[in-house]
Amino acid sequence: MFNRSIVLIGFALLFVFAAQTIGAEDPPGAKLFGTYCADCHGAAGQGGFAISVGGESYLNTRDDAAITHAIINGTGNKDMPAWSKSNGGKLTDDQIADIVAYLRGLSPSGVLVTKAPVSPVVYSQTNLALTQAQNKLGKMVVTATLKKTDGAPVNGATVVFTRQTTFGVIEMGKARTDSAGVASLIVDEQPERARHISATFKGDPALGLSAGMIELGYPVTALSHDNLNLSSVHLAITDEPLVPPEGNLFSPNPPIVPTAIFLLVVGCIWTIYGYVVSQVVGIWKIGQINPRQNVFRIGKR
């Protein structure tokens, strides 16, 4: 038994060493991503609690510098903090570069698509700049200004406003630029947290693709959960929960047959209970006939 135990422990230790060598073969970026990023962004960057960073929709709209910047400095919301050691995070610059390289490897094309095919004619690049403002009703308005690189506004171009969500990219609306190159979108919601709105101009044969993103900021009172100023926040939910109309268990329109069967079964059980109680009452009644006569040993006459 002693020898067998030793062999057994030996096997277990062998497994430990084997496991360590197996664990070492992953690329460094994958390892780091699994440790620091996968909890929110998903094991393969598919998204989850936070946005997807492993798909084309993310990788193809950002170059390496933008991704690196986001990791080093964070994106401004508290769930994506600054990760670099210089900013108080956990990662060195080399490690961040490894992660970016790993992410880049996840996209099938692996290239950053920012330029449309070059047209030899009157082709020019464009810039899309986003700003935010509040309109008279207090709603947030995102304004996209599309200009050529020489500063001339682009008139009549379609700008698509989108948001990245865990469902994928959601289109929030389209707008055509006016003569000043301005297209705007009213964001008809007041979230408690800052969120990112993207605007994209797809380009046409004469104009290059351009995109921009803005993080909508909201008044400080609405941003902090602790100091939530309820008067300044409008939610679509009423203050009190809506209650259904009263109906004494029969609202609204229960299916007749199943309800009848249900009530029948429950009623039968309670009727039988009643019968058992009647037996107990019977015992009690008999006991009252001569309560003083006690029989010491029950069951042994």
């Binding site: 135990s5 699994g34 996968a38 109680v277 008999i286 029950i298 069951g299």
Partner: protein, 513 residues
Amino acid sequence: MFRQPTREDILFEPLKSNSLKFYGFVALLLAVIGWAAYAYYVQLRDGLGVTGLRDYVFWGIYMTNFVFFIGISHAGTLISAILRVTGAEWRRPITRMAEAITVFALLIGGPMIIIDMGHPERLLNLLRYGRFQSPILWDLISIATYITGSLMYLYLPMIPDLAQCRDRLTDAPAWKRFIYRTLALGWRGGEEQKHKLERGVAIMAVLIIPVAVSVHTVVSWIFGMTLRPGWHSTIFGPYFVVGAIFSGIAALLLAMAIFRKVYHLEAYLEDKHFRNLGLLLLVMDIVYIYFTLSEYLTMIYGNDVADQRVLQLLFTGDFAMAFWAMILVGFLLPAFMLGLPNLITVAPRPTARLTVLRPFVAMGALAVFAVMAFSPASASASFQLVSLWPVVRMLSIVVALGGLLWLALPWMRAHSIATIVIASILINLAMWLKRYIIIVPTLYSPRTPIQDVPWEWAHYAPTWVEWSITAGAFAMFILLYTLFSKMFPIVSIWETSGEEHAAAHGAKGEANV
């Protein structure tokens, strides 16, 4: 009146006097309950925000306690009633303990739902706005039916014993005598009274079985009737019922061991009672493991996105530690503990060398277990990046535990009751964990993905308020059970005296009454 001392004198001992230890124990329980009451006051004053419950995870350990207590309440009926109906004579000394567990577990479990509500008074909305289509209403009705039935089922077989208390404990305080006198209903053991009692018990024993099954089925339907990953499963009804019987038997075994020790009931609770119930527990353990495997394997093959997220949380994610501890230490280890001493009947060899080395070998195995169980997770927590690490880790934990088990086998064979009790404790802990990981991981992964909410809204960790109330619930359960055992004979006297009688006459037969 002078009598010969009999075996059942020991059953009246706890009813006659209270030791200092008893008062100390009650004071301790009351202190825990008082603390829980303060915690509940804080929760009522400040709202559910003081708990870890938030928008997404709206059920936490309160609901875990609810399902857990409803589960162990099945100790009474489904053991006592089934054994009574099938005429298993060895059940006689344990039925009352089991039935009392039922009543008190229900009294504690039911109110957990109300504690879980931010506005307790809105429970009345179930009556004002309730709908027969809603499993929540079924739950209310079936639990009310069950608690009424199990009270009757506890009370009926107690009537002859109450009459004995009335007649024998004549020097008890007046209030106690009043209770005995009133509850005994003037029982004198005449033919007519016996006939009515037997009829009542027979009806209740049969009726309470479907009622008990329905209760835990309906509890499972509260989960199963929702279209949520991990809950919406046809197996949930039987799965919960089996789990309830499983944890109920384990709870009963614990109660038996404690009463046997504290009230010196060795003459009543013999090895055979522990062995028989231990085997029943083993069977339920195996059935439960089979159901668990069936449930998760079906989910794995379904490959539904939301199911996958739940499985990921359980197998490698936030709940992996609880999940694997439950499977390995809570289900598999007890199965071996209950089964191996019965299976391996080879006489232990004299192992003098090993006796010296055994602690070291055991420590080695423990070290391997600790290293493997608590080492940081693999670098890639991904299903897609193939790594043998989880498999290796699992294997070494199993091997280390197996080694420990192997070393402990001689001890287990020599201390069969202690082994069964340890297995029962592990099983009860595991079943509590099981209810937790049924509830919370599913709430982590709704079908509409969680997004754009603060981290705390989508994650759950119980706060001190919840732990305090949970501790208070358990203390309350123990307190009620203790007081019951000090008030009434915890072993049915009239049912076991027949056994004594039959044994004295060398015949196996029915009890006299």
